[in-house]
């Protein structure tokens, strides 16, 4: 058997496993069926060649797994298959977006961004949909739990990676992905920006910068005299 044939053989196995499932199959699971020394990349390439743009189905990476999904281009033809789903409430959708774009984020920070406390059931729904999951605790007093999105979220919204969120870069450079409360902070105690630096996992979608920079980037004039800006 030539090397090519061997590779095709592995590709057939991997294809079949992923194709059989409606959920993404983790790469670790696939590895059980191919020899340790075999690299995964060429196998995936073989499969992706078969399921090229002319095909109605595509191989998608979902977190650390792979799944076959129909291509968006043929969506119009598939309309009659549309799943009936309970529409997400406006609050739940807004919270989902805030978690997706600001992760890892605590419950309190979500409430600060929306300027209203979260009603019971909102997080519950997102958790039940398996779109969000805990993302470690903040190293601040009370060690609050932070939340982020799950691989199922990526799969559902057709994103390869969380950095593929629409408009993420613009929001980031506009300084709009800053956590923390502005109004409350000004109303009573000075904001403690350092609270937000010490994130345990450190993989926020943005570099931590003080709030006034965020406001500057957002196009808001901030008095840059030494004293005025340290609120």
């Amino acid at each position: 058997m030539t090397e090519k044939t061997v590779l095709m053989g592995y590709a057939a196995t991997v294809e079949a496993i992923i194709f059989a499932s409606d959920k993404p199959v983790r790469e670790r699971e696939l590895r059980h069926h191919i020899p340790d020394e075999q690299d995964m990349v060429p196998i995936i390439e073989v499969i992706q060649q078969r399921f090229d743009a002319s095909c109605g189905i595509e191989l998608r990476q979902v977190g650390d797994g792979w799944a076959f999904r129909t291509r968006v281009e043929v969506a119009e033809q598939l309309n009659q298959h549309k799943q009936v789903e309970r529409p997400l409430s406006r609050a739940a959708l807004e919270v989902l977006a805030i978690i997706a774009y600001h992760q890892p984020i605590t419950r309190a920070e979500i409430e600060e961004i929306r300027g209203i406390s979260l009603s019971k059931g909102t997080m519950d729904i997102l958790l039940e949909l398996t779109w969000i999951k805990p993302r470690g605790r903040r190293r601040t007093p009370g060690r609050p739990l932070t939340w982020g999105t799950s691989p199922a979220f990526l799969d559902h919204f057709g994103l390869d990676d969380i950095t593929d969120l629409p408009g993420l870069d613009e929001l980031k450079s506009a300084g709009l992905l800053r956590k923390g409360q502005m109004l409350g902070a000004l109303m009573d105690t000075p904001p403690t920006n350092q609270d937000y630096d010490a994130d345990e996992q450190g993989d926020d979608l943005l570099d931590e910068k003080p709030m006034e920079e965020a406001m500057f980037e957002a196009g808001l004039s901030v008095n840059s005299d030494e004293e005025g800006a340290d609120a």
């Binding site: 079949a16 496993i17 059989a20 499932s21 983790r26 699971e29 059980h32 069926h33 799944a67 076959f68 999904r69 129909t70 968006v72 969506a75 298959h81 549309k82 799943q83 789903e85 997400l88 406006r90 609050a91 959708l93 807004e94 989902l96 977006a97 997706a100 774009y101 961004i113 929306r114 300027g115 209203i116 406390s117 958790l127 039940e128 398996t130 999951k133 799969d155 559902h156 919204f157 057709g158 629409p166 408009g167 929001l171 506009a174 709009l176 800053r178 502005m182 109004l183 000004l186 109303m187 965020a214 957002a218 196009g219 808001l220 004039s221 901030v222 008095n223 004293e227 005025g228 609120a231």
Partner: protein, 262 residues
């Protein structure tokens, strides 16, 4: 930076007010005061980063006061924001703000703008998110799932939600049970009488009754219970002639003393 009083604009707002109230007869359509402010701000049709705060604040305050005239129930969040905006407005209207206060007030206006811009950005992000080609809507998974191979993935299936919901149930039941235990922590009059009998001998002079309460009362409810039962117990002991009671005036502390003390 914030121009008070573009007259035609304010008139415009007053004109609009009726329509807005008709549109949002109550506040339930809004996700909080910032959301309401954002909706009012959108009517100004200007870049949010440059929105004039003063007319916006007035619009919000008018909105809330009209809602109150209609006897609509207004959540505390909205009233708090109204109070804050009223303060901001008064500061913005000061003819010549003192130099150092000026910066602070500009920061406040900017902070409000930032909150508006950020929430607007998130609401738009939510719309973009939900219009992505979602699974089950415009993209589909394999319909006829085949059971092939599951080697190391569990035979038994359970998700994080199942685990958490299950533990939630367990804890809920436990909490229901513990309630009965915590209820027995409350002080009975008999216990209090017993304590007082033991302690009163070591107190030679008039002592405030509260000093006889156990030291480890952490919960307010425990404290109230102990105070009540010690009070009743002291009355009983006084009746039995074991101690003396004194109160100098209404609502002043109650003093007790052993009957044997001089």
């Amino acid at each position: 930076m914030t121009q008070p009083g573009d007259k035609s604009f304010e008139a415009d707002i007053r004109h609009k007010n009726g329509r807005q109230l008709a549109l949002f007869v109550n506040l339930e359509g809004f996700e909080g005061p910032i959301d309401l402010l954002l909706s009012l701000a959108r009517d100004q049709k200007v870049d949010l980063t440059h929105i004039a705060i003063l007319p916006l604040a007035e619009q919000y305050l008018n909105f809330i006061s009209s809602a109150r005239q209609l006897n609509l129930e207004i959540a505390a969040d909205y009233l708090l924001m109204a109070a804050w905006l009223a303060y901001l407005k008064s500061r913005l209207l000061l003819p010549e703000p003192e130099p150092e206060g000026d910066e602070e007030i500009i920061d406040m206006a900017d902070a409000l703008r930032y909150q508006l811009v950020r929430l607007e950005a998130m609401q738009q992000a939510a719309k973009r998110l939900i219009s992505l080609p979602r699974l089950g809507q415009r993209r589909f998974a394999r319909g006829a799932v085949e059971q092939l191979c599951i080697t190391d993935e569990a035979v038994w299936h359970a998700g994080l939600y199942d685990l958490l919901a299950c533990y939630g149930d367990i804890r809920s039941e436990l909490e229901n049970e513990t309630l009965t235990i915590s209820a027995t922590k409350l002080f009975s009059v008999e216990e209090a009488a017993e304590r007082l009998r033991h302690l009163i001998g070591s107190m030679p002079d008039w002592t405030v009754l509260e000093n006889f309460l156990p030291a480890n009362l952490r919960e307010p409810i425990d404290r109230r219970s102990a105070t009540a039962s010690h009070f009743v117990a002291s009355l009983e002991l006084a009746r039995d002639g074991l101690l003396k009671l004194r109160q100098d005036a209404h609502y002043t502390p109650l003093y007790i003393k052993s009957k044997d003390a001089p």
